[in-house]
C-alpha cells in the first residue's frame, strides 16, 4: 500500500487534482465558518454587478453570489458523497452477488440491471424527484444514488466472476467459509482499488446529476447548491441581460470539481494498472 501511496504522491495528475479538491473542500468547510451570514438573505438589488463590498455581485433577488458559492460547493459535495456511497454500495452488493453466485441469480440480477439501464437515468431521476414529499439534501442524494448504481454493478460483476476462479477463493470454499465471508474477505479486498475508482466516478457524476436536476427546478429546497445557482441565473434571464457574474462562477466550479475528480480517477488508474504507466 505504501508503495502505491509513494507512486501516487509522485504522480503529476494526482498532485494537481488532489490539491484542487483539497482547496475546494477547505473552501466549502472553512468558508461558511468565517462568514456566518445567511446566503439566502438579500444584500442588494437585482443583479448588482461585482463591487468591493459584494465581490461577485448579486443574483436575481439580491443575494450575494460569493456567499452562495461558499455554501453551494459544500451542498454539492455532500449530495455527491451521499449519492456516490449509495450507488457504490448497491452496485457492489448486486455485482458481487451476481458475479460470485452465478447461474440463475446472475441472470436475474443482471437482467434486472439491464432493464434499468434501458430507461434513461434522467427520466427515472425526474420522476423520483417529482414524487418525493420532501426534497432535502439527503433525499436527493439517495435518489441520485439509487438511479446510478447499474454501471458499478456491471463492472463489479465482471471483476467478481474473474476473481471467483482464483485459487485462494477455492481454498476458502473448501475450508467451508460462508458465501458472505468469502465475498467480504476473498473477493472485495482484491478489487478495492477498482471499487474506489468507480466511487470517484460516481461522485463526479452525482454532482453533475444534482446540477442537472436543479436546472430543471428539482434541486434541494431551502439550501443553495451550485446547480440551483445556475438555475436561478438561467431562469432569471441572466444570459439575456448579460449578468455573467451570476452564471459563470457556478459553471466554472462545477467544471473544476468534475475535472479534478476525473483527473484523480485517471491518476489512480495509472498507479493501480501498471500497464498504463509503461506507455
Amino acid at each position: 500500500m505504501s508503495l502505491f501511496l509513494r507512486q501516487l504522491a509522485s504522480n503529476g495528475r494526482f498532485q494537481v487534482s488532489f490539491s484542487i479538491l483539497l482547496l475546494l473542500v477547505l473552501f466549502a468547510v472553512i468558508g461558511p465558518m468565517l462568514d456566518k451570514r445567511n446566503p439566502l438573505f438579500a444584500v442588494g438589488g437585482r443583479y448588482d454587478p461585482p463591487s468591493r463590498e459584494v465581490w461577485l455581485g448579486t443574483d436575481v433577488i439580491g443575494n450575494d453570489i460569493f456567499l452562495q458559492l461558499l455554501h453551494g460547493v459544500g451542498t454539492s459535495l455532500k449530495i455527491g458523497l451521499i449519492a456516490g456511497l449509495t450507488a457504490t454500495l448497491i452496485g457492489v452488493l448486486i455485482g458481487t452477488l451476481a458475479g460470485y453466485l452465478g447461474a440463475w441469480i446472475d441472470e436475474a440480477l443482471m437482467g434486472f440491471t439491464n432493464v434499468i439501464i434501458t430507461i434513461p437515468t434522467i427520466v427515472i431521476l425526474i420522476l423520483l424527484s417529482v414524487s418525493v414529499a420532501k426534497r432535502d439534501l439527503t433525499t436527493l442524494g439517495l435518489i441520485i444514488g439509487v438511479t446510478s448504481w447499474p454501471w458499478t454493478a456491471r463492472a463489479v460483476r465482471a471483476q467478481t466472476s474473474s476473481l471467483r476462479t482464483r485459487e485462494h477463493v477455492d481454498v476458502a470454499k473448501i475450508s467451508g467459509a460462508k458465501t458472505f465471508s468469502i465475498i467480504l474477505w476473498e473477493i472485495l479486498p482484491y478489487m478495492f482499488s477498482y471499487i474506489f475508482m468507480a466511487f470517484i466516478l460516481q461522485l463526479g457524476s452525482a454532482i453533475l446529476n444534482e446540477a442537472a436536476l436543479s436546472l430543471l427546478g428539482l434541486g434541494p429546497t431551502n439550501t443553495i447548491s451550485l446547480g440551483k445557482m445556475l438555475q436561478f441565473a438561467i431562469q432569471g434571464e441572466a444570459i439575456r441581460t448579460g449578468a455573467y457574474w451570476s452564471f459563470l462562477p457556478p459553471t466554472i466550479l462545477l467544471t473544476l470539481i468534475s475535472f479534478s475528480l476525473l483527473l484523480l480517477q485517471s491518476s489512480l488508474d495509472e498507479v493501480f494498472n501498471p500497464k498504463l504507466r509503461k506507455a
Binding site: 445567511n38 437585482r46 433577488i61 429546497t221 438561467i234 439575456r240
Partner: protein, 565 residues
C-alpha cells in the same frame, strides 16, 4: 453514409410535413408572443387546452367574439357584437346586437345564436355554466334583441356583466349539428373554426399560429378593422427565448414577463416601450396573494399573522422579483390604481394596515404574544407552539412568484419564524390549494374585470359554497369565515350606486385587515403589454391612450390604430 441519408430524408420529411407557407411580408404581419406556449391542439373555445386566439384569456375577439368587451382602463363594458345594454329595471338586462353581424362563412349572426350559446351551458359541462345561477331566463324577442332576466335570489348584476363580456358566441348552425354528431363536444378539436371575428386561422403547427384578416368582416364600420393582414404567434420554448426575440425586433407585441425592460431603451436605445415610461411601467391588474392556513397551530393566531405581515420586505419583492413592475403591496384587497382606485381608501390602509417593519414584528411576538426565541433562533409561543416549520408554496417555474417566496422565507427566517419554500408542479400546488392542505401559499385571485373588486373579496372571504378541508374548493382556499362577510358581499353585489358599493367594500376591507386571512405580496399587470416599434408604430401608451393595454376584450382595438413602418 446510409445513416446520413436516413437522416436527410427524416429532415426532409419533417419539412414536407410542415406546410409550404410562403414568407409573410413583414409590413403586413404583426408578431406577438406570450399567449401560447404549447403546440396548438384545439381551437374549441369550450374545450380545455384551447390555443390562442380561441381561449378566454388571450386574443379574444380575433376569432370568436363576445357581446361586450371589458376595458381595464375605464372599467367599463364597450360594445362589440352587441350595440347596447339597457336595464329597464333592476332585474332585467336587454341586449341589442349590432347591425349586419354575420359569421365568417357568410351566415347571419342573430339573437338565436346568442341564446343557443348560453343555453348550451345547461346541456354541456362548459366553464360558463354557473351563469344560470344568476339568470333565470335568456330569451330572444326578435332577431337582434335578447332579454336576460336576473335571478333575484342570487342577485349579482356584476357577475352577469362579466359573463356578457366573456362568453364567446358560437354559430348555432354549426354547433347544433356538432352536438348531434360528436360523442363529446369538449373533445372536439375544432381545427377549422368559424367565428365572427376579423381573423381566420391560416396555419397552426408546433412552431407557430398564423391568423389572416377576413376582408369580409362584419364590424369594419361598427367597431373597427384591424390593420395587420397577418398576425403570427411563434411558439417559444421558454420565456427568455421569447424575450430575446422581442428585443431583437422579431416580435412586435409581447405579453411575456420581460424583466428589466427599461434597459432595452435606456441602455440599448431600442424602440421598445411599455404603457408607462417610468416605474412601474405596467398598469397593475391583479394581486398575487399569500393565503395563510388559519387552522394551523400558530398561524391560527391573528397576531402571529400580523407579525408575519410585518416581516415581509414588500419593496424588495417589487424591486427584484417583480423587476420594479409593482409598487410595494398594501394591506388591502383593492388595487390602488386604475379602475379600482375609486374604491381604495388610503387612510384606512395607513391607519390599520401593515408594512415592512421587522422590529414591529419582533415587538408583536415578544411583547403582545410573549413568545420567546428557542435555541435554534425560532420563536416559541407561551403555549409551546413553535412558529414553523411552515412551507410556503407556489407552482414551480413561475419565476417572479418563486423569487418572491424566496424573499418571504428569508425575511421570516431572519426574524425568527421558520418559513421554507416549496415549489411543487402545478397540478400538485393546485390540488393543495383546492383541498386547503398548505401552510402558506401564493396564489391568484380575480384580477380587474367587470365584477372586480367584488369578485376578489368573494375569492378570499366568502365561505358560502366552500366545502370542508380535504374537499375541492374553488375559492376561499383556507376556509376563512366571518359571519359579517356574507351580508356585506351581497350588499356590495347588489349596490345600486358607487357610494353604496364603496361603503360595503370599505367595510369588507376593514374586516380583512383585522382578520388577515391572506397577505398581498405584489401587484402584477392583468396582462403584460410591451411593444417593439421597429416594424409597427402607433401602439397606445399612457400618453396616447387610444386603446387599453390588454390582449383580450377591448385590447383588440390596439390593432385598429397601429401602422406599418
Amino acid at each position: 453514409m446510409k445513416l446520413f441519408k436516413l437522416l436527410l430524408s427524416l429532415l426532409a420529411l419533417g419539412f414536407v410535413m410542415g406546410s409550404f407557407a410562403q414568407e409573410l411580408p413583414r409590413n403586413e404581419t404583426l408578431y406577438i408572443n406570450g399567449m401560447q406556449w404549447g403546440p396548438p391542439t384545439s381551437f374549441n373555445p369550450i374545450g380545455s387546452g384551447v390555443a390562442w386566439p380561441a381561449g378566454q384569456t388571450f386574443g379574444t375577439q380575433y376569432l370568436y367574439e363576445t357581446l361586450f368587451v371589458y376595458n381595464m382602463l375605464s372599467g367599463e363594458l364597450e360594445p362589440q357584437l352587441a350595440a347596447s345594454l339597457e336595464t329597464p329595471d333592476a332585474n332585467t338586462f336587454i341586449v341589442t346586437l349590432q347591425d349586419g353581424t354575420h359569421w365568417q362563412d357568410g351566415e347571419a349572426l342573430s339573437s338565436a345564436d346568442v341564446v343557443y350559446t348560453f343555453e348550451m351551458a345547461q346541456r354541456q359541462s362548459v366553464s360558463y355554466a354557473p351563469v344560470w345561477d344568476y339568470v333565470s331566463s335568456i330569451a330572444a324577442s326578435d332577431d337582434k334583441t335578447i332579454t336576460f332576466s336576473l335571478n333575484p335570489d342570487k342577485y349579482n348584476p356584476g357577475l352577469v356583466r362579466q359573463y356578457l363580456a366573456s362568453v364567446n358566441i358560437l354559430p348555432m348552425h354549426i354547433w347544433a349539428a356538432l352536438e348531434e354528431s360528436e360523442d363529446s363536444l369538449l373533445q372536439f378539436a375544432n381545427m377549422d373554426p368559424v367565428g365572427s371575428g376579423p381573423y381566420k386561422i391560416k396555419e397552426a403547427n408546433n412552431e407557430r399560429v398564423v391568423v389572416e384578416l377576413d376582408s369580409n368582416y362584419w364590424g369594419q364600420e361598427a367597431v373597427g378593422m384591424p390593420v395587420p393582414k397577418y398576425v403570427v404567434h411563434p411558439i417559444f420554448k421558454s420565456n427568455d427565448a421569447g424575450n430575446l426575440a422581442f428585443e431583437q425586433g422579431q416580435v412586435d407585441l409581447s405579453q411575456q414577463f420581460a424583466p428589466e425592460i427599461w434597459k432595452m431603451w435606456e441602455d440599448k436605445g431600442l424602440p421598445v416601450s411599455t404603457w408607462y415610461k417610468e416605474e412601474p411601467y405596467h398598469v397593475p391588474g391583479s394581486i398575487p396573494i399569500m393565503f395563510v392556513n388559519i387552522h394551523e397551530a400558530g398561524l391560527d393566531n391573528v397576531d402571529v399573522r400580523r407579525a408575519l405581515a410585518h416581516v415581509i420586505n414588500y419593496r424588495l419583492i417589487a424591486q427584484t422579483a417583480m423587476s420594479r413592475y409593482s409598487v410595494p403591496a398594501n394591506a388591502s384587497l383593492i388595487i390602488p390604481s386604475g379602475g379600482e382606485e375609486q374604491y381604495y381608501d388610503a387612510e384606512a390602509v395607513a391607519a390599520n394596515g401593515w408594512s415592512y417593519d421587522p422590529q414591529k414584528a419582533v415587538d408583536i411576538l415578544e411583547k403582545e404574544l410573549g413568545a420567546k426565541k428557542g435555541n435554534d433562533g425560532i420563536y416559541v409561543l407561551p403555549d409551546g407552539t413553535r412558529l414553523g416549520p411552515w412551507k410556503v408554496q407556489c407552482p414551480f417555474g413561475w419565476t417572479d412568484w418563486n423569487q418572491a417566496l424566496e424573499i418571504v422565507a428569508a425575511n421570516a427566517q431572519a426574524v425568527g419564524i421558520d418559513v421554507q419554500t416549496d415549489f411543487p408542479e402545478f397540478p400538485v400546488a393546485n390540488q393543495n390549494m383546492a383541498n386547503g392542505t398548505f401552510d402558506l401559499a401564493l396564489w391568484f385571485v380575480a384580477g380587474v374585470g367587470p365584477s372586480s373588486p367584488w369578485q376578489r373579496f368573494r375569492d378570499i372571504m366568502d365561505n358560502r359554497g366552500v366545502p370542508a378541508q380535504g374537499e375541492t374548493a374553488f375559492w376561499n382556499y383556507n376556509r376563512y369565515s366571518n359571519p359579517a362577510v356574507g351580508d356585506l358581499l351581497d350588499q356590495a353585489a347588489a349596490a345600486s350606486d358607487a357610494d353604496a358599493l364603496k361603503a360595503a367594500l370599505g367595510e369588507l376591507d376593514n374586516i380583512y385587515r383585522s382578520d388577515i386571512p391572506a397577505i398581498p405580496l405584489m401587484y402584477r399587470p392583468l396582462q403584460f403589454f410591451q411593444v417593439n416599434q421597429s416594424h409597427w408604430t402607433g401602439f397606445p401608451s399612457a400618453e396616447n391612450p387610444v386603446a387599453a393595454p390588454m390582449h383580450m376584450g377591448a385590447g383588440i382595438r390596439i390593432l385598429y390604430h397601429i401602422q406599418a413602418k
